[in-house]
């Protein structure tokens, strides 16, 4: 049942407890307790709106930065990954398989801000051996939400 609640909340974090209860055939109190557990266990990390910032005047710029990193003998990639994750400019950090090590999504007000952040903050880190920065030109889909309109082209009535 926990995974059922997780799936539903991952789709829409604003489902009311009452609607979740109906969809899962649970009591409201049970749903509340499950959500509390999920939060306490750290399975649910937060609830945020999915925003299409490009629609705003002061839209932000983001870039995917590929980092090659020399792992520390006993700490692996953890230490540097956690350090990078602590910057407010950093939206996400992933350890990757393949030709580079860390995938860092960086955001800023302008291209210049992001470029500065990469060259002044990320590149100089001791264990970072190289960076490659790719700016995002347009967002089509984020967190399962498509940013383009998909019309329901069915009729309003169909027997």
């Amino acid at each position: 049942m926990k995974s059922e609640i997780l799936k539903l909340l991952a789709k829409n974090a604003r489902y009311s407890v009452s609607d979740l209860a109906k969809m899962t055939s649970l009591e409201q109190a049970q749903v509340e307790a499950l959500i509390k557990e999920l939060e306490e266990e750290g399975l649910i990390k937060g609830y945020k709106a999915v925003v299409d910032w490009d629609k705003l005047e002061d839209a932000y710029v983001s870039a995917i930065v590929e980092l090659k990193v020399v792992p520390k003998a006993d700490l692996g990639f953890e230490e540097v990954a956690e350090r990078i994750a602590s910057y407010k400019e950093v939206e996400s950090v992933y350890l990757m398989s393949g030709v580079y090590d860390l995938n860092v999504v960086v955001k800023g007000k302008t291209l210049q801000d992001v470029a500065n952040f990469v060259s002044k903050e990320l590149a100089p880190i001791d264990s970072v051996t190289s960076t490659a920065t790719h700016f995002v030109m347009r967002r089509y889909k984020e967190l399962d939400v498509a940013f383009f309109k998909k019309e329901d082209d069915r009729g309003q009535f169909l027997l």
Binding site: L8, K22, M23, T24, D152, R154, Q156, F157, L158, L159
Partner: protein, 389 residues
């Protein structure tokens, strides 16, 4: 000047237009209608199936198939029916691929009905059986199934409808719009009436995969002594979300299928080739896709049924298809008034139960082929409407 009344077939002209026409006109004047009126899945056809269709085009499979349909598809249908319903059909002679389930229903009725023959039709049910019967010169004999019987067809009702003119019984379960299903013991009762009679059962099983709460669909063809009296009609639209592909089939005794094939041959030639290739993939490799759609329908079903009951519209648990059929008697309005006012005042589109036969009075049909968010909003508006009454 052409006098069209001199050329048109009076039987066609006399067919009443659907009761929901006026709702189309009202809805057309609004741009924020939120509808629960559509009897069609909102999922796109699984990508594997679409790819199989595309690939058949790339390989140049653009010709007619045999009249009965691709033998490879008929074999898959035969396997599928054996797997799901425990009845076996010869792919060569007992299966006909049609343009949607609808065409198979039409061909089956036309194959058996001649002037003044009677066809028994349980209602509320899908709207095509009556007009097709009438056009074939037959006489529809309607049985009004009752809410207190869970909208099942009962032995007693069937017995009282049978005459020596009865040619066929339509068995539309799982049922659009009521969501009713016929379980094995219900079908045994029906079979006990029909076993010694020459009446063909046209079993419209288009919603066979969409049953809930652990209830699996049972086909009347699997009941002892009934296979040679039954034509199963099924299709790909609802199960595999393939409405636009227009593909269905009939399976039944070869004597009946042979005659249906003639009608099909002259009216249609063959079902769309691209769709037939896609459907082979659907039957072979899409069990998981069907299950995940089913799971999602079930969530929506529970959401909708609980909410209807919560806002005071008593709703029995629909066990099949993808519709809820709540009673609106608490509103004091007729089905038609309810739907018209709800549309005008809150811009929510529902279908009055009467669109599916007189016995649908006092009920509305709400489809849950919509996202939970959509359902929540539509029912929120419905509650606001009820509060104003």
């Amino acid at each position: 000047m052409m006098d069209y009344s001199k050329v048109l077939n009076p039987a066609v002209c006399e067919i009443k237009p659907s009761g929901i026409r006026k709702f189309f006109d009202i809805a057309a004047t609004m741009n924020d209608v939120i509808s629960l009126g559509v009897g069609e899945p909102d999922f796109e056809t699984p990508w594997k199936i679409r790819k199989a269709g595309i690939s058949s085009l790339e390989r140049g499979k653009t010709k007619y198939t045999s009249n009965s349909g691709l033998i490879a598809l008929r074999k898959e249908i035969s396997n599928y029916l054996y797997r799901k319903c425990n009845v076996s059909y010869e792919p060569e002679s007992e299966i006909l691929i049609s343009v949607g389930g609808s065409e198979a229903i039409d061909a089956a009725i036309r194959a058996v009905v001649s002037a003044k023959d009677e066809v028994i039709i349980p209602e509320p049910s899908y709207v095509c059986y009556e007009p097709i019967t009438t056009l074939a010169g037959g006489v529809p004999v309607v049985i009004e199934t009752k809410a207190e019987d869970d909208f099942k067809l009962t032995k007693k009702q069937l017995l009282s409808a049978i005459t020596d003119k009865t040619k066929a019984l339509i068995l539309p379960y799982p049922c659009n719009p009521t969501g009713a299903i016929m379980e094995k013991e219900d079908l045994e009762e029906i079979a006990s009436v029909l076993r010694d009679k020459n009446i063909l059962v046209i079993s419209d099983e288009i919603y066979a995969e969409l049953t809930f709460g652990g209830k699996k669909h049972v086909s009347i063809a699997s009941i002892e002594g009934m296979k040679d009296k039954t034509v199963i009609v099924n299709g790909f639209s609802k199960t595999f979300s393939m409405t636009g592909w227009r593909l269905g089939y009939a399976a039944g005794p070869k004597e009946i299928i042979k005659q249906m094939t003639k009608i099909h041959q002259f009216a249609i030639m063959c079902a769309p080739t691209t769709s037939q290739y896609a459907a082979v993939e659907a039957l072979k490799n899409c069990e998981e896709d069907v299950l995940s759609m089913l799971k999602e329908y079930d969530r929506r079903r529970k959401l909708m049924v609980s909410t209807f009951n919560e806002i005071g519209l008593t709703c029995r648990e629909p066990k099949g298809a993808f519709y809820a059929f709540p009673s609106i008697s608490s509103s004091g309005l007729s089905s038609d008034e309810f739907c018209e006012r709800l549309l005008k005042e809150k811009h929510v589109a529902l279908v009055p139960g009467t669109a599916f036969g007189k016995g649908g009075e006092g009920f509305i049909r709400a489809s849950y082929c919509y996202s939970p968010e959509h359902i929540i909003e539509a029912l929120k508006r419905t509650k606001e409407f009820l509060d104003t009454l």
